[in-house]
Amino acid sequence: MAETKYTYYSGCSLEGTAIEYNISVKLILKTLGVSLQEPEDWSCCGSTPAHTLGHVFAAALAARNLEIAEKMGLGTLITPCPACLSALKKAHVRMTKDPAFKKEVNALLDKPYQGGVTPKSVLQIIYEDVGLEAVAKKVTLALTDLKVAPYYGCILNRPPEIAQFDDPENPIAMDKIMTAVGVEVCDFAFKTECCGAAFGVPKRNMVNKLTYKILNMALEAGANCIVVACPLCQQNLDLRQAQVNATMRSSFNIPVLYFSQIIGLAYGYSPKELGIDKHAVNADRVISSRIPVEELAEKKKEKAKKIKAKEEEGA
């Protein structure tokens, strides 16, 4: 592994409605030997609302945090939230590419940001820096009932010039990580469709319609669980699932877990430790059967033996 210590920016959602994302990310990164340091006195990245006012303004809100991170001297800043990532990275990329923009942004700040931080997603460093092999090594339990639809959401990999990671149309990082921890992954056509983003409050019907399509596609793909990397996606798909059922006359009951929670389950943490009990849709039926990986390997061997014996009998 190249680096083991990162600046960690959790963002506002992860202090509130997405607290379980924060908890589970911290647990698994600790298991993987990654240590985190939070920027002192960080502030909100600005998210979507800020760039309806102005881009210099939005970049300044993000860059206040980049400046704090810059002083910490760790180089890479990681965040679990795609909206924070997008805000921080857009600010960073535009400021480093365009000196006039940088000047305008810094004019709004008490302390200027010089461009010395590389923002990445937690997913990216797990995939690239920790690596699939190391991720797989820590697995102790097999999740035999789980079939996940990997849902990346809209901005984690888009636009490619900003994301600079994975494929914008068919991302695979989460698929591969799930496979590495032994979880069955379904082919999911709506990996990057939009869930309705921040419109949940002011435009609830619209969001319900969009999430309906995603939930429906996940079932059609044969999944019994959706795995996500974004607090807004999680909220729209899980917390609002009952609303979807009411508006669209559907009867979805599909749990929506963060990828970090699933990794944590495979590493032997309890659902409670990973905050899975904090979701609206109960996940028990798809995660309760966990068996030690050795036992699973033993079972598989037995099965193979039996098949072989049968074949020989037949021959």
């Binding site: 909100c44 006012l53 809209c154």
Partner: protein, 191 residues
């Protein structure tokens, strides 16, 4: 005979507006050749009054009022699908963003609830330095008069230790508030 809504695009061309959007977005809007890729992939097409490729066309022909009055610019979620897929490499999502910014500046707000939600979010951020979700929701409900928005979600999150009743106030909240003030000051001087 079917009646088709037609727009006379040669009428009222606002050249200044075309120029302004080009400058503020840094994008060459003339490059768009109406392939429709952006619209085909836009998850919000069914909710837009003008699909995003039509916004691009209206922009090329300087139809300022029609664009700034559109619901589309407020319902765009900046999902970046159009930007990712435009064969001319136009940053379409960025243009939508600029149009929304201009609309806000010039007081064209076709989707008042969306703006009120954003305002409630920004107010919370300015106040505490971080966003306090409970306050954003309550602030929105008060601003919009939709007092019961998401009241059904309450039981689902309360009791799970997710929603705090007190905000986290950061030490540097004044620094954050200053970003707002300096920005407003700059906007005022824009003339």
């Amino acid at each position: 005979m079917e009646i088709i809504n037609t727009i006379n695009l040669t009428k009222d061309i606002d050249w200044e507006f075309i120029d302004q959007v080009r400058k503020e977005s840094g994008q060459d809007t003339a490059l768009c050749y109406q392939c429709g890729n952006c619209t085909a992939g836009c998850p919000y097409t069914e909710f837009f009054d003008y699909p995003v490729n039509q916004i691009m066309r209206l922009l090329q022909t300087g139809q300022k009022k029609m664009i700034l009055n559109s619901r589309a610019i407020w319902l765009c979620a900046t999902c970046e699908g159009c930007t990712t897929r435009c064969p001319c490499e136009i940053d379409v999502a960025h243009i939508m963003d600029i149009l929304r910014i201009i609309a806000r500046r010039e007081n064209y707000v076709s989707e008042k609830d969306v703006k009120k939600f954003y305002d409630s979010f920004l107010a919370s951020m300015k106040h505490h330095g971080r966003v306090f979700e409970m306050e954003v929701l309550l602030g929105y409900n008060l601003r919009s008069g939709h007092f019961l928005t998401d009241a059904d979600l309450g039981p689902k999150v309360l009791g799970k230790g997710k929603l705090h009743f007190l905000p986290t106030r950061i030490k540097g909240k004044d620094q954050v508030a200053r970003i707002f003030e300096k920005f407003y000051e700059k906007e005022k001087n824009r003339g």
